[in-house]
Amino acid sequence: MNEQERAAVELLSLVGKHARLIASAYFNERTFPDDEKGGQIIERLIRARLARRNDEHGEPRLNSALASLIDHGLKNARRLQSGSGLELMLKEIEEKIDSYRAARAANAQDDALGILRTIEEDAGDLVEALHETAQTIWRQVDREFSWITSLELKIHENKKIIDRVKGLLGALDDLGPLAINHLAGKDPALINIFHRARLSHVMAECRNDISDALDRLSQMLFAFNETRKQGRLIQKLNAMYQNSTGYLPGDRLEAGDVAHLLFAEPLPLFGTIDVEDDRQLSLATELLKGLRKTAIGVEIQDDAPPVDASGGSPAEYMLTENPTHAAVDALFCKAIDEGSVRAMDEYDASRCGCASDVWLHSVIGYREGLDSQKRQLFQLRFDEAPDSSFSGVFNVADIELNFTLP
């Protein structure tokens, strides 16, 4: 620690040691209590320039620098409080404006100027406090109460902040631009101060900001309450299950009530796999067996030929153990030979074993799976029939597959 740091520590220790006495002087118009006035402590404070006498026999008073420091600290502390902090700050400005007007009325120009300077400082502080308040609220909103784990506490905290924000909004409404204009009146110096501090503008901005924050908080509270409602429903239903043996909500429900939640029956999967060599081929075959077993509960029989080399590129094989895929492949080959085929004409002959809608879907899916160059060679024309439910929906009844060279 260097000498200056040591001096600073000593100074602060002295302030800390006599904090009560200093605070008492601060709140007693900067003068010390009578019983301390001639004491050693005051002399020490004077030596440390924390207090001063105007002349040798004058009354000891708190040094103005220390008083300003306390002043500033108290303002900050107040600013951290809720909307009442802002109200207090404005109240203070209001009081100082009264003093300023009184000083001007008494022709005490120096005093008026001094007060004007403090009003300017206070207006700056108020602007800063407004920004800070909006930012603090938004920081809390953005964190969405993630620092709290309990749902009930989240709701409680949310409500608390909503109350605070509503209080702030009320205060800002009271302090609005009209109130500022009213405070400044026609005094050009005051108008100038408030204009320079952009007080009206900042107030309006802050009001908008915290009004948006209130919306977000309300939405969050709604979501929290919905979540709480779900939790309560879970508990209630759970209790019903436990208290009434054999309770089944299905007794009162029908499939139609939840039709929108019921998945369409899964369709068998098929596809193609590119393999580089025999090792990959056997691995892919094993994988496919496992996949089919878990996906559709069907295991490929070991004696069934698992793969069929496509015969084209030496590095590319196609797994064709799915009869539908093989049949669709054959259909496309036939289209190449004959130029045009109808899917349903080939359906029976294909003996693919799938339902007719699956067959048609497979034809469409096969074409979608081709690369764009190949896909352009095949065109689909759908024969559609209106759905039996008269819903305006048309179902594909057949597909004409046409092959044309560009």
Partner: protein
Amino acid sequence: MISEPMFRDTVETLLAGKAVCEYAFEDLFHYLSKKPQHDKVNAHLNQIGRKVMQTRDGSAFYCVFTHLNSKQEQSSVQKQFEEMIRSFEPLVGWLGLSLSVTRGNPIKPGDEVKLSTYHAAIEDGGPVREELARLSGMGMFSNNQSTPKGQVDAVFKKLADAGFLVLRGNSGAKYVATGRWAFVYELLDIIAAKEQLDEDVSSDAQQGILI
């Protein structure tokens, strides 16, 4: 060889009866979230009497029949409905147990669900253990584990197998809840309305609107 693997994967995943959510199928979910791609998949599925649906909370896409035309389709849906009702009790039981572990927060799609949290909860108290033992003898959670820890592990595995949880990371202990839970909550709301359970719990929920 395949020009649009995302289209194919999305259609196949939907047709395989899976719920496409951000947490289990992130790429497919984002693919389906874009309108032109959603429309393309939907148009494709429409041709075979199916369509894409999205859960009310928007957390998952899935495939449903546009109309129940054949007896096969009707019976498939009926079977699924019965299974849904059967598996609802253990799922609601698990959600109830989880409420005490998560301090009142019902599990939602996207929530991180840690095995360690549940292990700690069974260390703490009897009611959680008892409920866990009850669930371990029930339907989809049925298992032969004799210790509470083993039962927790088994239930997590069953939830993952059923698509309600997906593993995150390599530890094998951190899961994320999938969009499957959205179906449970929708069904819960439907049942609550039928059973008139929601009358006395809904007033609070309105509070947010009134502010």
